[in-house]
């Protein structure tokens, strides 16, 4: 990256010396500094239209979920409902056990998040800071599986889970997601930056390896743990293909499974109920996202850059 910058820097200098004098003499336009120009107005209006396209469907979903069926189909759609009703939700909860699915989703996502983040942090620390036989092989295998499509492991995973007699159990929803190669990669990258002096100081003080890890390393890694935790939770919450196949009885359904089965199993489409179901899945995540957006956006961009 820095090598690139140098190269481009040189290139710009080249342009400067070669530039015709007239261009240099021209009054230096810097619209960058001014804020309310025709250009910036056009730009912001264009971006606002884009923003409407981006979050419009989500806003429509939330608003429609408290509207009666007739108003949902009105055109143009109403931004503020004429008549607020909770009947979509009450009807949905009466015909489907949504609180149960909600609880399933929360519990599965929490266990997957805590477990996989902890295991990733532990192995990431070992890969970054400790020596052990088989370290290189383990790291190579983890990196190698990052590119494996989910579909490659999908069928054999089902065969495996069936032979372990885990079909239709919570274990089937949790266990395959506790080992996350991407999480290991992320944590190892982060652990590399933890200063060795800190670890040595703890060891000199007589702290054992595990004490050092839980008392010194984990607190240092808090930003990375937060980022990975949020991303893992999101992934688990939105996961639907595996749960759709791995569990069969309704009491084990997660929210996306329940909504997917409900929306395809209906003869007459009742948009009100579907939209209410969709809102139950999306709204909690959107709220979490809005609260933690700085963490998420920064986390995503740093993982992308590393």
């Amino acid at each position: 990256m820095s090598g690139d910058m140098m190269a481009a820097g040189t290139r710009t200098t080249g342009v400067r010396t070669g530039a015709p004098r007239a261009a240099q003499a021209a009054p230096g336009e810097s619209p960058r500094r001014r804020r309310l120009t025709p250009r910036s107005t056009v730009l912001n209006v264009a971006l606002l239209i884009g923003l409407a396209a981006s979050i419009g469907p989500l806003i429509w979903m939330v608003v429609s979920s408290v509207e009666p069926e007739g108003e949902i189909r009105q055109f143009p759609p109403t931004l503020i409902p004429d008549q607020v009703t909770w009947s979509n939700y009450t009807e949905l909860f009466a015909s489907l056990n949504f609180p149960r699915y909600f609880l399933n989703s929360v519990v599965v996502a929490l266990i997957v998040t805590v477990g996989s983040v902890l295991f990733s942090a532990m192995v990431g620390y070992a890969l970054a800071k400790l020596d052990f036989p088989g370290k290189r092989t383990l790291f190579a295998l983890v990196m190698g599986t990052l590119m494996v499509p989910g579909m490659v492991t999908f069928v054999p995973l089902f065969v495996l889970v069936a032979n372990l007699d885990l079909v239709n159990t919570y274990a089937a929803l949790v266990l395959p997601f506790l080992a996350a190669p991407f999480g290991v990669f992320l944590m190892r990258q982060f652990m590399l930056d933890v200063p060795d002096e800190l670890l040595d100081a703890a060891r000199v003080d007589g702290a054992g390896e595990f004490r050092t890890f839980f008392r010194i390393v984990l607190p240092q890694a808090r930003p990375a743990l937060a980022t990975l935790g949020i991303l893992t939770f999101l992934g688990s919450w939105n996961n639907f293909l595996w749960p759709l196949v791995a569990v069969q009885s309704a009491d084990k359904y997660t929210l996306p499974v329940a909504l997917a089965l409900y929306s395809t199993g209906q003869n007459t489409v009742q948009y009100g109920l579907l939209v209410a179901g969709a809102t139950v899945i999306v709204l909690p995540i959107l709220i979490v996202f809005l609260v933690l957006q700085r963490h998420i956006v920064q986390g995503v961009s740093t993982t992308g850059l590393k």
């Binding site: 261009a23 192995v123 490659v152 939105n238 939209v275 995540i285």
Partner: protein, 296 residues
């Protein structure tokens, strides 16, 4: 003596840290990857679920069957169509948004950033509910809007020609925020004075974009291209929730066909197809590295 004893102790402790992950990783990742390869060369079916070793080796039969199957060929063509259009579209739009948000002319940058990223965190099942309504032919928002302009919109999801473009737009809508956020962070890493110097030299925005932004952003673009490409080659969720691969297989994909063959109980064939997809992922990533890697 003490050194080697100490080393052995850290070696043991290190394995203590690595063990929980390694066991789960071996059982739920390495074993499935290996057995997928094994299954691809056998005639395993759903009936062999409990006796996965009592199957016959069939050599490359599954691969031949997959590659000569017109349904698979159609699915492969659809997947290439999807990747070929949706990937450049997503990256171009993400780059455009990132450059605009970074231009210093935007009033509420963080609002835009959050807004464009929001679709990324939403569940595909919920998104499908919303988009099926938007694209509903008789009273959906899109066709109602087109109707105001006097255009009679097509039946988006049940029209052989329009189903795939509909899914491409939907996938782009859902994924553009991810690349945008990463590209924006990359842009913020480019020093302002490089742009200011070139502005003094009389370089316009277009020239700046071509001579500064694109070359300096190349590693970030490469990352986004690889991640987006890997994800899009596995195109599955959108047709699964929106069209079930229809109409007439027009939105069927390789990953979807893997899932279908699994559903039919053709485990061996399904595994072979998944490995073909794997090879495609590796080839695409390699090509992108070749095309976009930093020039030395």
């Amino acid at each position: 003596m003490t050194v080697s004893a100490r080393r052995r102790r850290t070696g043991l402790a290190a394995w203590g840290f690595a063990l929980p992950f390694t066991v789960l990783f071996a059982v739920f990742m390495l074993v499935p990857v290996a057995s997928s390869l094994y299954m691809a060369f056998t005639d395993m079916h759903g009936a062999d679920l409990r006796t996965p070793w009592a199957v016959n080796f069939v050599g490359f039969d599954n691969f031949v069957e997959a590659l000569t199957d017109p349904k698979f060929q159609q699915a492969a063509g659809n997947t290439l169509y999807f990747v070929g259009v949706a990937m450049p579209l997503t990256l171009a739009l993400a780059l455009l948004l990132a450059v605009l948000l970074n231009s210093g002319l935007v009033w509420f940058r963080s609002v835009f950033r959050v807004g464009f990223y929001a679709p990324v965190v939403t569940s595909i099942v919920a998104v499908a509910v919303v988009w099926r309504f938007l694209l509903q032919p008789d009273f959906g928002l899109v066709n109602s809007g087109l109707g105001v302009l006097g255009i009679d919109g097509p039946r988006w999801l049940t029209d052989e020609v329009w189903a795939m473009p509909s899914l491409i737009v939907m996938a782009t809508w859902r994924n553009v925020g991810y690349s945008m956020v990463i590209l924006l962070a990359g842009l913020q890493g480019i020093p302002r004075d490089v742009y200011e110097a070139s502005a003094i030299d009389g370089a316009g925005p277009v020239r700046q974009f071509r001579s500064i932004t694109v070359p300096l952003l190349r590693p970030t673009l490469l990352f986004c291209a690889v991640i987006t490409g890997i994800g899009y080659l596995q195109f599955f969720e959108e047709p699964f929730v929106m069209t079930q691969g229809g109409p007439l297989g027009a939105t069927n994909s390789v990953a979807y066909e893997v899932f279908n063959q699994f559903g039919f109980g053709n485990y061996g064939l399904s595994a072979a197809m998944s490995y073909i997809l794997f090879v495609a992922v590796v080839v695409l990533s390699y090509l992108q590295f070749r095309l976009l890697r930093t020039e030395k």
